[in-house]
Symmetry: C2
Subunit: 431 residues, 2 copies
């Protein structure tokens, strides 16, 4: 029998407990191991979670779990990077395996935690930290182990994807849709973490660490959110045959890894463009397997609980077999080889606010040309002589550094009335 | 060091060898294990596979591999169910682990092979047997281990999906598209195995065995192919908001498992409807995780090789750790509880060839009503008084047995000119 202790009895904690209790027989049939939920610790032991626990399981003292020599696996579900870190390190130091859904913790203090785990020969399961119920950690680490990973593209924040989907379907403003999402519980009261890309960046750091065998950190990820996206940009993208998604991108080019999160235009015929609402999807391109995609719910009590319990089952198998750390490969990571954002190459969508005067396009395209940015297509719409109208330009591959310089110069032009909207473009359109 | 021997140096054998040689360092970095491709056996040792092998690796004698005490893992890639079975059982009896891409072998003789493997404490890796490069076996067996599997829906035959996609895009006849597919190498000279659903049925038996913990056999799967599908049915489906796909379906209802492969109408807004061409996808619905989908290439040297090498890496880890059989859970399967096809419930699309006379719809709907089959919608198109015109009926849920009886009775009506086309329908349309 393997004993599990859960610290943090919130949404995911409740889902995890529900699965461990409800599917205990199924899990025993499948793994040959009886997994016993021995203790749950939470500061609030009064609230009704709609779950009947055996007597004595719930406690307000996390130490009761950490000090219990019977407990093999500690599940950390309190979140944050302070108390959670303390608890995780304490569990590790006591020789307990750890399962966590805490992406912020791993993307910030991952190196330290994995070092400690290696030292104490315990496992860290973190399937639930990326893309909720989608077993993407296992897929990248084991299922695609034979592949050099060429690229990973993830829609890994449900809140942002919900907002962008609604903006696209209803041609609505960001602020409107955000309010609606908050009402429905799809966005937090303070949505910054989700809409500014931080959550996606945490998850990308974890995925990229597995894909490229280095311990990447949140600081390594270039990050831009979606709050400035306007229905106009979504509409222009549609006209050009693209969807706008908040994409987390990891790519290896010439031995360097680029890591970035930003609104991205993707050809509408790509499968990942069709991932709508709160759903998540991760596209992985491997040198042997080619294009693959993994889709499912990225959050919620039961989907995330599914991932937590998968980790528990995996570790339980290893514990019973006496081989903890079986699939670990982050204990001696390769040195990072991070591409500077300046050197990243991409295609771009620019929306200039240009005065409707003769010669404006020539001025703008002249500056783009000077910086080696060549144009694929131009859309100029609406005529208001002397007034600002949107001028949309789609480019071939260009270097970020050149783009930054060119746009700075263009924004200074007297015929340009406002800040230029910039959306990076991924994926070649057919034909 | 782990030594591998490959029997069968065809397409997948070549892909597997290419990965083992080309990504050897990567695999060592990731697993900590040096995986050595020691021998490859094939009756044809002359043909150029575009691959430079170290001297002495290629042999025409499979026994050289089976008798080599150094070789830990035998990769069976010869296909078929006779010699392959012999080799696999021999490898097992010599204490060697086996990796195979052979779905026919496992769906026919799986019970015997897994029993032998359990007896000799060796592992059988078969990731490559279903959906090529998509790590769906690992996903179902490990990633979703916490879930009662409610349903599995697979597009798991690339040839059929390519043909149906082309028929849909080009409004072309089956026979035309098949010829084109054969020219392009997407269909075999004898395409029966693919287009009649047998290949999908083999793979479904394997998937269902994992999902439901019983050892299902090809004989347990109801199977219908796509060769009779006409562009007319695809067009009617489109009008009704559906795509037609060859779907492999496993579902548990009331403790019984239904297993079937047949052309299926799916709402066009479902993600799986958008899986086109030779690509495969498996949709898995778990009680905790909800809807998930896994997408990638279902065939080909490198994608299938990716799955073979993932199995090799997994087994290598277990061998090095001294725990073969770590994730096995088919050694003591649950008894089968298979639903009879007669009892299966589904929605249906019927296309009757009805004479264009007053009262025909009333006669047909009368018979449907008698068998408790209620109608959702009717499309009647084209007017040719006294001639046969298509009459399309979409139904609510009905029992297969009732449908068979009703259609038999309807086909006997004097006002019905030909055999009725029947396509089962899955998934509720929105709104």
């Amino acid at each position: 029998m393997i004993h599990v202790g859960i610290i943090g009895f919130g949404t995911v904690g409740t889902g995890t407990a529900r699965i461990l209790l409800g599917n205990r027989v199924l899990l025993r049939e499948r793994t040959g191991i009886d997994i016993n939920l021995k203790k749950i610790a939470d500061i609030d032991i009064k609230r009704d979670r709609g779950l009947i626990l055996p007597k004595g399981v719930l406690t307000s003292s996390a130490d009761q779990l950490l000090d219990d020599p019977d407990i093999d696996i500690i599940v950390e579900l309190i979140g944050g990077t302070t108390i959670a870190k303390e608890m995780v390190l304490k569990a590790i130091s006591k020789g307990k395996h750890v399962v966590t859904a805490n992406k912020a913790l791993l993307a910030t203090h991952g190196a330290e935690i994995f070092r400690a785990a290696a030292k104490h020969k315990v496992e860290i399961g973190f399937e639930a930290s990326v893309a909720g119920g989608i077993p993407i950690i296992k897929v990248v680490r084991e299922g695609l182990v034979a592949n050099k990973i060429k690229a990973v593209y993830g829609i890994i924040n449900g809140t942002s994807n919900y907002i962008l989907t609604k903006m696209t379907e209803e041609k609505a403003e960001f602020s409107e849709v955000l309010k609606e999402a908050q009402k429905l519980g799809y966005a937090e009261a303070d949505p910054t973490y989700d809409i500014e890309g931080t959550d996606s960046a945490h998850k990308l750091a974890i995925l990229a660490s597995l894909a490229y065998g280095s311990q990447f950190n949140i600081k390594d990820v270039y990050c831009e959110g979606i709050s400035w996206i306007s229905p106009m940009d979504i509409e222009f993208a549609r006209e050009l045959g693209y969807k706008i998604k908040l994409l987390a991108i990891a790519k290896e080019t010439g031995g360097q890894v680029e890591l970035r999160v930003h609104p991205t235009m993707i050809p509408e015929e790509f499968l990942i463009s069709k991932v709508d609402g709160v759903f998540n999807a991760v596209y992985v391109d491997g040198d042997a397997v080619g294009s693959t995609l993994y889709y499912g719910k990225g959050a919620g009590d039961m989907p995330t609980g599914s991932a937590v319990v998968a980790d528990i089952a995996d570790i339980a198998r290893n514990v019973v077999n006496g081989v903890p750390g079986r699939a670990l490969f982050l204990s001696s990571p390769k040195p990072k080889n991070l591409m500077k954002m300046d050197d990243v190459r991409s295609m771009y969508y620019f929306r200039f606010s240009a005065l409707d005067r003769p010669g404006v396009l020539s001025k703008i395209s002249g500056i783009l040309g000077k910086y080696n940015i060549s144009i694929v297509s131009v859309i100029q719409k609406g005529r208001h002589e002397g007034k600002a109208v949107p001028l949309v330009v789609l480019t071939h591959m260009a270097r970020e550094k050149d783009v930054v310089s060119a746009i700075r110069e263009i924004n200074r032009l007297s015929v340009v009335a406002g800040k230029t909207a910039i959306v990076r473009v991924e994926g070649q359109k057919n034909g």
